[in-house]
Amino acid sequence: MKAIVLLSAGIDPVSGRPAPVGGEVRAIGLARALGAKTLIGLHAGASVPALADYGGYGLKEIICLSGGEHDPVAALAQFLIRASNVSAPDLVLAGTRGCGGADTGLLPYRLAEKLGWPIATGIAAPLEEQPAAGRLALAQARARGAVRPVHVTLPCVVTVSDMAECVPSFVFADKRAVQVRDERAERTPQGEMEEGLLRPYRRRPKLISAARTGGTGGQLLVDPTPEEAAAAIIAHLRSLGVLAAADEASSSKMT
């Protein structure tokens, strides 16, 4: 399988220093978990030193499309269509969203649309049972550790969840060995500019939900019998809804 991982020159949200984007690092891990034989990093824009960090996570080759930053979707699509003439990639992987730019997470969707490929999103891992060739079975990450199976037709675009646990280990020796190659992107007209005013982020308080402020408010039992204590715990957990009711528990046991 030939896989391409879309890379961006991200920044660390805390310090603002250049840093690889977590989702893209996980995308490398997922590509490896899927057993990709060829794995190439692709960046729409001129090469910057920070991209070499992705090499530390397991990429041997990174291609930078210089000039592609004006309209990344067009530049990436052109590159992929051209690459298809030689050896077509089966899979384009990306993080859920960039970190340091517009950060909308729209690019992989636009690319899939442009290529006419399906897109599977928020993926955490491959499923154990894989369907016949031409399709891929993936686990989509959902809140609280839940997953949804996703079957997708190849070639496809896959975005990788920030919750995915497939973070490859960072190897400095691989980072220094990575080949970062600049390639001129075909001239594309300037893509649409984002409108509005860009300014430093201002932290605003979130709404406080009723559920979070509410509560039973400091119930205290001093030296109860173990039976009283256990009954109080069970009742309390039931009132919070974290413990299934007795009949539910028994019925779920039976099924």
Binding site: D12, V14, S15, R17, A19, P20, D53, G56, P168, S169, F170, V171, F172, A173, D174, K175, R176
Partner: protein
């Protein structure tokens, strides 16, 4: 007959010498497979007698009776044997005084041999190894008894089987035994020890000097750190062979005491066995506690660390780099350098670090802070104090380096006390504020030299853009890096520990203290201050000035036991049986201390993490602030 047995004995000695010289050949060949190191062998060899008699002797002496045993057995055997070798000249053989001398030396050696045997008999202590050691006294005994009998026969002029054939037979057997012991057994340390002492990687340590800084790695080198034994320097390979398995490192290792899968002796022996192509089963000492089994096979060119290798990876990450083993080793082996070299290969070449450490290293790479916390939040704990920030181009007397401990609420209390004292005494000081990055200590000890050099480069640049007379820090780990390790990368400053500065202020009369009536206070020496930098007096002077009653723990000063907080041990999720700080606080309790005085954020966090009841933990700065009567 009598004449002839004397000559044969002299011949035997020469034969033994030749056999020993031959036995060294494969050893030297093996070492030569290691990396070339610039070593001045001539000067080194010339210095060996002094190094043996002063430095090695000092370390050996710390175990009662060990020096006496060695003096008797090594001195007696070597002197008697050398003298006997001179018997090749017939003039000596006819001299009774000569034979008397030979006899005295061999008899002395017999006494020594008796002491050698007594070490492992009737019961072998756990820290000593068995195997070939168990019959070493008999080989030595045979050689020395043979020599004594021969000399006795020559003195009294007796011949016969008892004074000719029997001693010659004993010497032949004993000599053969000694050859086996040297060629394939623990006595190889006689030769490898001399070589290692001559070609030591840190010759500055001899004569009471100190050399503790880790050395920079060329990040462009094809192999970073040590993956296989031949990646080590040739002299380091000799140092592994020089290990005599005395177990002092094991007795002083905090990780071993806590059951943390590390035994420095087993580690060095594992490396020596791997380099020799022997199997791990040849090791007869105590293993690394609870370490999962490994294949136990190795060679000069196969990976040492790993389940398929000689040493389990967990062993590496249990080390707190406290240098207690190095401090104790009579052969002056550099365990910490070895562990860091092995870690460098694991981290830089394979990316094989523990998950917690990988997370910390990622944060260091990406946000220049081990917890991924904002750099601007470092000084939050000092918000209530008057703390100027030294901007680029600014100037001050004392630059206060806060360190990563500043993020913790507990250690911020210590820093507040220190800042109050500085403001009280009118010291002109400032902090770096948001410009202070992690100094790189953690990255370097975890083997991530690349991140260390990246951070160090930025810090040196930051410091170079500001003017100050000296740096003061309450973190001995930062102190060690700034003072000892940055010079190699181009940054040299005068760096002081806060206890040194406070001591200076007290002795200059700028700070007057009144000893308060407190329950007994014991000072816990931080490894990176005491062992790494030899500073043990200033904190004690301060404590004596501000507490009515101080006590010492049994292990203190340069012999102090580590709190368990160094070397990336806390972030490496090491599996333990007992916690190192728990053991240390037990020792504090045994000394009768109700307060443990600390001088390091790592120690504070580790010792305060010990469940109560335990002694109170207070930084010296806090104790000093409480005792100030006038400025």
């Amino acid at each position: 007959m009598r004449q002839r047995s004397g000559a044969i004995a002299a011949g035997l000695v020469w034969g033994l010498g030749a056999a020993l010289a031959l036995s060294a050949v494969p050893m030297v060949r093996r070492w030569r497979k290691g990396q070339a190191k610039p070593v001045d062998m001539v000067r080194g060899l010339a210095a060996v007698p002094k190094r043996y008699l002063v430095d090695v002797h000092h370390a050996v002496e710390r175990r009662p009776g060990a020096a006496r045993m060695h003096a008797l057995v090594a001195g007696g055997t070597l002197a008697g044997t050398t003298l006997l070798a001179a018997g090749i000249v017939s003039a000596f053989r006819n001299n009774r005084f000569y034979w008397a001398s030979v006899g005295v030396f061999f008899t002395t050696a017999i006494a020594g041999t008796w002491l050698v045997r007594k070490r492992r008999s009737p019961q072998k202590p756990s820290y000593l190894s068995g195997g070939k050691f168990l019959w070493l006294p008999y080989a030595l005994g045979a050689w020395n008894v043979g020599g004594s009998l021969l000399a006795l026969g020559q003195i009294v002029g007796a011949g016969g089987v008892l004074f000719s054939a029997v001693p010659l037979f004993l010497m032949l057997v004993g000599g053969a035994g000694i050859v086996v012991q040297v060629a394939r057994g623990p006595m190889r340390h006689a030769f490898s020890g001399v070589t290692w002492l001559a070609a030591h990687s840190r010759p500055e340590r001899f004569g009471g000097g100190r050399s503790t800084e880790l050395r920079p790695l060329d990040l462009a080198a094809p192999m970073l750190g040590a993956m296989v034994p031949s990646d080590f320097g040739w002299n380091i390979l000799a140092s592994f062979d020089a290990c005599i398995e005395c177990g002092r490192c094991e007795q002083h290792c905090p990780a071993f005491a806590a059951g943390q899968r590390l035994n420095p002796k087993a580690l060095v022996q594992g490396l020596a066995l791997a380099a020799r192509g022997e199997e791990a089963s040849a090791y007869t000492g105590s293993p690394a506690p609870h370490a999962p089994p490994v294949a136990g096979k190795g060679s000069l060119s196969s990976p040492v660390i790993g389940v398929d290798g000689m040493i389990h990876p967990d062993t590496l990450w249990a080390c707190t780099t406290c240098r207690a083993c190095v401090e104790q080793c009579p052969m002056m082996i550099e365990h910490v350098d070895t562990i860091v070299d092995l870690r460098r290969a694991q981290t830089l070449m394979l990316g094989e670090v523990r998950p917690g450490a990988a997370e910390a290293l990622r944060h260091l790479r990406e946000s220049a802070e081990s917890g991924g916390r904002p750099l601007s939040a470092r000084a939050d704990g000092l918000a209530g104090e008057n703390v100027p920030v030294l901007e680029e181009g600014g100037e001050t007397d004392v630059l206060l380096w806060l360190g990563e401990g500043a993020y913790e609420l507990r250690y911020a209390r210590t820093l507040r006390a220190l800042v109050k004292l500085l403001n009280m005494t009118g010291v002109n000081f400032a902090i770096l504020g948001e410009a202070e990055l992690d100094c790189g200590d953690l990255a370097r000890r975890l083997g991530d030299e690349a991140t260390f050099q990246m951070l160090a480069g930025e810090v040196i640049d930051t410091l170079g853009r500001r003017r100050f007379k000296r740096i003061v820090t309450a973190d001995p780990h930062a102190l060690n890096v700034l003072r000892n390790e940055y010079p190699a990368l181009g940054g040299t400053w005068e760096v002081l520990h806060h206890t040194a500065l406070l001591d200076e202020l007290v002795s200059a009369g700028r700070l007057k203290l009144d000893a308060r009536t407190l329950p007994p206070v014991a000072y816990h020496d931080p490894c990176y201050l005491a062992r790494y930098n030899g500073e043990t007096d200033a904190p004690r002077r301060l404590l004596a000035a501000c507490c009515s009653q101080t006590v010492e723990m049994e292990r203190h000063g340069r012999q102090a036991m580590c709190c368990g907080g160094g070397g990336g041990n806390p972030v490496s999720d090491v599996d333990v049986v007992e916690r190192i700080p728990d053991l240390r606080m037990q020792q504090a309790a045994q000394s009768g201390a109700a307060i443990v005085a600390v001088a390091c954020p790592g120690c504070t966090a580790m010792l305060e993490g010990v469940p109560e009841p335990r002694a109170e933990v207070k930084d010296i700065a806090e104790l000093v602030l409480d005792a100030v009567v006038a400025v």
